[in-house]
Symmetry: C2
């Protein structure tokens, strides 16, 4: 295979110029650039960048591990990526679909120094397996975990959901419908919050069905249709996501109902759609979580002390309650 | 470092059982699993999965290259990921921020067979550089490109935007405001469509400012505020994205205006938010584009003939026009 000297010779330029063209540095004339690129094409030359970055010891790349795409996870990934790149780090997103071997691709890249660190949003392998890789670089998780070697930036869903329920109570709502997302630890914590909530206030359970696996606008529309059909209607709906709340709100408006006069609707996450539709919601500080995750990783790489945000859910009151 | 035989001996199980625990296969009792994992933890054992997958020759992983996060790109990534994993492929998303060296990490992984193929949404390096890597595996792009070695699944933005403008014309709108997103080839094609449109219909240019770099709900709200202040108001607004259209719609409603009576609003992309708010829009078949991209990659890997969807923009008429 051709080398950089040969390209320089054929193009009649210095090797430094060839290098500038390859790395797209400025101060190379269009004419020179084109000539060099043409020769690169003819010669079948492939610059070996990875070798260089491996020699330097750090790739300045952080892997992010997730199981699937959803809007909250994507907000988190986007925030993490933004803060990481401000410090000169690249990110690589590994979608595992819950397959151990897919996750191990990322872990192995940490071992072979192709990644400097991992941010594990949702893991698939047993924690023991993942922990065994922490000797190769920092691994930080978003999941609830108590571990000496894997720091976690998880948030207490119990507290967040209780905030939602207590707010609805303070507004006079008593018959509350719960809409939950997928059945994970976070949902279990929200269910626990609801049980404690009705017990604390001496409410009896409304007897409404519990909706599970509801996360989208379309799910919200279905729930609105269910609500319309009931004779004994919930006075308020506490939703798993802003998308569900948005779907309910618009479907009810189309059917001629008024929010909050007919029913109070409460979102969760405080995404753009809650702002758009004036939804009362719970602010989920994903951006600060992402910043904390990066700060922890950075401090582990630099052996410094991280500066962390304190994380809390906040009530955002708007016009849907 | 410990090996699998040593773990098996200490745990009093067969190496096959250790392997099943590591790979999370079923039919291992919880007790055995825990014992094996405990010993793995004590022994500092890290299974070398990558070596195995490299030996097999194919990692069944496809890299996706993008520059930043935005909702259309994320829809495309999500669709591509879904279809790829149905065929047993994993995806890795590389965010480059427009830095050549970050993109080269992905290209080098193709060369070293850690990736089977690349789907390049938005490239950073010169095409010549990227083309030189096609000998190591298929590279398919979403960008407008004519190349013998890099197939493209791009769509003609001129046609899509013309569809929007012609529809508005047919509804009687003459004074149309254009809202564009970032200044790339796609926007240039949309600008060209608008120029041809006013010429074809003998309209004179409205003299409205051209809004650029507008993509979000918040951008839409600003444009609504601008619209409110004008004495000579646009009769219709043709937006770069559904988010912009949604922001305009809700901000105008809050200010007491009625859509479409006061002004027609047209989105673009047909994302969930257009459905939610009954926005007339142009359906952008990102899911089919993603399927085509994967079909092309798959056929290049299998040396088979891909079955492709024919791609077209479609008008979705709802209540905002």
């Amino acid at each position: 295979m051709a080398n950089i000297q040969e390209i320089a010779r054929l193009a009649g330029v210095s090797t430094a110029t060839v290098s500038r063209v390859i790395n797209q540095h400025p101060y190379v004339s269009d004419l020179t650039r084109e000539r060099v690129l043409k020769i690169i094409g003819q010669l079948d030359y492939v610059p070996n960048y990875n070798a260089t970055s491996l020699k330097k010891g750090a790739t300045r790349s952080i892997g992010i591990i997730a199981v699937d795409y959803n809007s909250l996870l994507m907000s988190l990934v986007r925030s993490f990526h933004t803060i990481a790149q401000q410090s000169g780090f690249n990110t690589m997103l590994f979608m595992t679909n819950g397959e151990c071997s897919k996750e191990l691709v990322a872990l192995e890249m940490l071992r072979s120094r192709q990644l400097d660190a991992l941010f594990c949003l949702v893991r698939t392998n047993e924690w023991n397996i993942i922990e065994s890789y922490t000797r190769y670089g920092p691994i930080v998780t978003w999941q609830r975990l108590t571990s000496d070697s894997i720091p976690s930036v998880f948030m207490d869903q119990y507290q967040g959901y209780m905030l939602s329920l207590e707010y609805l109570y303070s507004k006079g709502y008593r018959k509350i419908l719960n809409v939950f997302s997928s059945k994970g630890l976070n949902t279990l914590e929200r269910i626990r919050a609801y049980r404690d909530f009705i017990q604390m206030h001496g409410l009896k359970d409304s007897g409404f069905p519990q909706f599970h696996n509801k996360m989208s606008i379309y799910d919200g529309e279905e729930i609105a249709q269910w609500w319309i059909k009931q004779t004994d209607k919930p006075e308020a709906i506490s939703c798993s996501t802003d998308e569900v709340a948005a779907g309910i709100l618009m479907e009810l408006q189309r059917a001629g109902f008024t929010v909050p006069d007919d029913v109070g609707i409460m979102g969760f996450d405080n995404t753009d759609i809650a702002h758009l539709l004036d939804l009362t919601t719970i602010h989920y500080p994903v951006d600060k979580q992402a910043e904390n995750a990066f700060a922890v990783i950075k401090s582990m790489l630099d052996q410094s002390v991280p500066k962390l945000h304190s994380l809390a859910f906040n009530l955002i009151e708007r016009r849907s309650t």
